[in-house]
């Protein structure tokens, strides 16, 4: 499949993080949605709180880029993004980071894109995009994450 078949798949943060998000260190807080206010997003007032969006498994799919739409409320507020995977066919419990961690800050709504080396989704692994709050002043809001997929090899 030629490269022009690349396409973005974007997921609203508030609808795509299944289940409750209830960090052990901050019960009932952490990443939480606004209610009916607009724009619809999730917000975190604490530093270093992670939440995960699953990358749905398609064997052989190549992922070429990842992006996130977010807004820091304070001057140095933002997010850290990692693409992680784990071999679920063994007793491994640790994530393996694909590429490197990205740190972004912005006080306006921004779409930041990470361009790792293309990688192929493999059988037996689970995949996720990990978003961690970087709150030095006030809070940070996350609107969405997206992945750009390329050809499927299988």
């Amino acid at each position: 499949m030629p490269s022009f078949m690349k396409q973005w798949k974007d997921f609203a943060a508030v609808s795509s993080m299944s289940g409750n998000r209830k960090p052990i260190t901050f019960p009932d807080e952490g990443w939480a949605p606004n209610n009916m206010d607009h724009p619809i997003k999730i917000t975190c007032v604490h530093n270093d709180i992670s939440t995960f969006l699953p990358l749905h498994y398609e064997k052989g799919t190549i992922i070429s880029r990842v992006r996130a739409k977010f807004q820091g409320i304070g001057a140095s507020d933002g997010i850290k993004l990692r693409i992680v995977k784990r071999d679920e066919s063994t007793t491994d419990t640790a994530w393996t980071v694909i590429g490197s961690e990205q740190t972004w800050t912005s006080t306006s709504v921004i779409v930041s894109t990470y361009n790792p080396t293309d990688f192929e989704m493999l059988e037996d692994f689970s995949y996720a995009i990990e978003i961690t709050s970087k709150v030095g002043v006030t809070a940070v809001s996350l609107f969405s994450v997206g992945v750009e997929t390329n050809a499927r090899l299988l």
């Binding site: 974007d10 609203a12 609808s15 949605p33 749905h56 921004i110 779409v111």
Partner: protein, 148 residues
């Protein structure tokens, strides 16, 4: 074709906007897997799986209220995630009175084509008028042919 999901396993973030605020919670037990709320204004959102070119025909939710009071509101919403623009567009909205027992509420999407760069979700809001709970068991989307 309908694709349906059990509500509690497919829901997005269900924490309240503020601690202690209105929210949908897990309801478990024999015959009761689902989401439940005792508060008006509780909102939960479900993702619409992205397949470029898929045509969305309708969304539906299986639900119930205990005492026949209040309404439930179902919306389908999209947003352009490729730019800093953060305004949502409502594709459909349906509100129905509480049924005596369970019922299915359906929102017509008028053959909306899923396009790249947009996220899509189904939003369900409780509109309780009493202290009796509302329950959601299932959410589903109806799709027809893909045009791409």
């Amino acid at each position: 074709m309908w694709q349906i999901w059990e509500a509690s396993s497919f829901a997005g973030c269900t924490l309240p906007a503020t601690p202690g605020g209105p929210a949908w919670r897990m309801k478990t037990g024999v015959g009761f897997n689902g989401l439940e709320t005792y508060a008006a204004g509780a909102v939960v959102r479900f993702p619409v799986p992205y397949l470029e070119g898929t045509i969305l025909e309708a969304a539906k939710v299986k639900w119930a209220g205990v005492d026949g009071e209040g309404t439930l509101i179902v919306r389908v919403i999209k947003r352009d995630e490729s730019s800093p623009a953060s305004t949502e567009t409502m594709l459909a909205e349906e509100e129905e009175n509480c049924p005596a027992e369970y019922a299915v509420i359906e929102a017509d999407l008028s053959s909306t084509v899923i396009v790249e760069d947009f996220s899509y979700w189904v939003e369900v809001e409780s509109n309780l008028t009493t202290d009796s709970p509302q329950i959601i068991w299932m959410v589903g989307i109806q799709t027809s042919k893909r045009i791409l």
